[in-house]
């Protein structure tokens, strides 16, 4: 039985379909990249999987509870005065959804410390999240997502606003945890390259349409041209993929690394 199943999933706003008829079965341990232009509904698809966004039609079923999904958000700078320490942020990833007082057992502390060690952030435990750099914050976010040993990790553009080094490091950490925990990963990104070596399948969303398949099946000029209804060139260069023209209707004279 698959971990996550989307059947004919459709989401529309004011008659306009953001995406429609999405069929997908995600198996344990699978790494799926979710790609598309801004406004193509990537984040909405994640929210629908989390159950915080209702579908217009179709169905999504996840073989588990919402608390068995780990979530890595996009990087945002926390207010530097925010009274939340790294240790507590990670700890809330484990039991923050449960009622009661936040009394911490020895076992809880060791699990939180182990998660921090996994992302090489043990030394940050007592820092406030607002005092972290972008790369540190995203590593802490990964620890927060994996501390509950989730069956599924949803990452919503976790690499945006990071420099290339940190992009690779955070992507590597998520992939390492996927292997260690056997979790499936759905990874929203606008740049496939930092995760290209880990990806099993790609979901490409554009213009209300979508294409699902392996990287080689989806990231081709014909497929993307068909999705966008315009001439798109997919160029491969030393293991990287460059998409030319995909977003010309949005940003002129700009190439996008996809």
């Amino acid at each position: 039985m698959s971990l996550l199943r989307l059947s004919n999933a459709t989401l529309s706003f004011d008659e306009r379909a953001l995406w429609s008829g999405v069929d997908l079965e995600v198996q344990q341990g699978e790494f799926i990249a979710l790609i598309g232009a801004n406004g193509s509904g990537k984040s909405m698809l994640l929210k629908a999987i989390l159950g915080t966004q209702h579908l217009t039609s179709g169905e999504i079923s996840f073989a588990g509870k919402q608390s068995e999904i780990g979530y890595v958000p996009q990087h945002r700078n926390a207010d530097s005065g925010l009274p939340l320490r790294v240790f507590d942020a990670v700890r809330f990833g484990l039991d923050g959804h449960k009622l009661g007082l936040p009394i911490s057992s020895k076992e809880l502390r060791s699990r939180v410390n182990a998660a921090l060690a996994e992302v090489e952030a043990s030394h940050l435990a007592q820092e406030r999240v607002g005092d972290l750099s972008g790369g540190e914050m995203q590593r802490v976010r990964v620890a927060q997502a994996i501390v509950s040993k989730p069956k599924l990790i949803l990452a919503d553009e976790p690499l945006s606003a990071l420099d290339l080094n940190h992009q690779q490091r955070v992507a590597e950490l998520i992939n390492k945890q996927r292997k260690a925990l056997g979790s499936a990963v759905i990874f929203v990104t606008h740049d496939l390259n930092p995760i290209i070596d880990y990806v099993d399948r790609v979901i490409y969303l554009a213009q209300g349409k979508h294409s699902i398949g392996t990287t080689d099946e989806v990231m081709r000029s014909e497929v993307l041209s068909e999705l966008y209804g315009a001439e798109i060139d997919v160029v491969r260069n030393q293991g990287r993929i460059v998409v030319l023209g995909a977003h010309d209707h949005q940003h002129h004279d700009q190439e996008e690394w996809v």
């Binding site: 989390l50 159950g51 915080t52 509870k65 919402q66 608390s67 999904i69 979530y71 958000p73 005065g81 925010l82 009274p83 939340l84 320490r85 507590d88 942020a89 809330f92 990833g93 039991d95 923050g96 959804h97 449960k98 009622l99 009661g100 007082l101 936040p102 406030r128 976010r141 927060q144 949803l154």
Partner: protein
């Protein structure tokens, strides 16, 4: 007026038994005020506290005018205001404007009710600026009930409420019902404010529901020490203020608000020295 109006301890041992009710009520209020205040700060609700307290005052004044129970009036006004703010003011921007609209309306309504009230003037201003010896047994009883409801509910929702207040996006993704928790918390806030209006008065509620927590947050980000310090500061302000007020002839509030303010200043100073600034 001479200095003995402000502080005068000559009959102290005889005065204490007369105000035991006030001391107990004040201590309970400080306990819930210090704890609720932590979430007022986390959720940036300081301004809402002020708005709720004005409507609580209006409720108490209107009930007083119609010879109904003042405590119920205060609770009624505050819960109504808290509900309006909780349901309409989901976003900070909306919330601020709703509070700003409610506040003068509540104050005006309360002043109207007091103007029409035929009783003594001293009773009237108690609701705005606090009263020290007015805590009779039924009022203390009401305070105990309010404190129990607030403490027990807070104990149940503490962890997810903290998560949702400090890390909303991830909390929602993890299945925390932030909207529901926010509404429940606003009701607790309403109850705490209604209790505070009885004792420190509507205009000075912030000194117990915001200042102690704000001072605590200057000193630490620890999930344990923030509430512990906040309650301690609230207790020192409230009980200390009551004891000082006993000696003089002035109302209790200036003592409470002054101590609370001084603690906040000291906390800022300590934080500044510690950060080496």
């Amino acid at each position: 007026m001479d200095f003995s109006d402000i502080i005068n301890f000559s009959d102290y041992d005889q005065l204490i038994p007369l105000v035991l009710n006030s001391l107990w009520a004040g201590a309970l209020l400080a306990l819930i005020g210090g704890l609720v205040g932590v979430f007022v700060m986390h959720r940036e609700l300081s301004f809402a506290v002020h708005g709720i307290s004005e409507l609580s005052f209006a409720g108490a004044a209107v009930f007083l005018l119609f010879s109904l129970d003042v405590v119920f009036g205060a609770v009624f006004g505050s819960l109504l205001a808290a509900a309006i703010i909780a349901f309409l003011g989901d976003k900070a921007r909306d919330r601020n404007s709703i509070v700003a609209v409610l506040m003068p309306f509540g104050l005006g309504l309360g002043i109207l009710a007091l103007a029409l009230y035929p009783g003594r003037a001293a009773n009237k201003f108690g609701l705005l600026t606090g009263q020290i010896v007015a805590v009779d047994d039924p009022k203390l009883g009401a305070m105990v009930v309010i404190a129990l409801v607030v403490l027990l509910t807070l104990a149940v929702i503490w962890r997810p409420l903290t998560f949702a207040s400090l890390d909303q996006e991830v909390a929602r993704a993890r299945g925390v019902n932030d909207r529901l928790l926010g509404i429940v918390f606003m009701m607790l806030l309403g109850l705490a404010v209604a209790g505070a209006v009885q004792i420190v008065g509507a205009l000075l509620v912030l000194a117990l529901l915001v200042t102690p927590a704000a001072a605590a947050l200057r000193l630490t980000s620890s999930q344990l020490w923030v509430p512990v310090l906040s309650v301690t500061f609230a207790l020192v302000s409230m009980v200390g203020g009551t004891l000082l007020a006993l000696g003089g002839t002035l109302p209790i509030s200036p003592y409470v608000t002054t101590i609370s303010f001084l603690i906040y200043l000291a906390a800022r100073l300590v934080a500044k020295v510690r950060n080496g600034a």
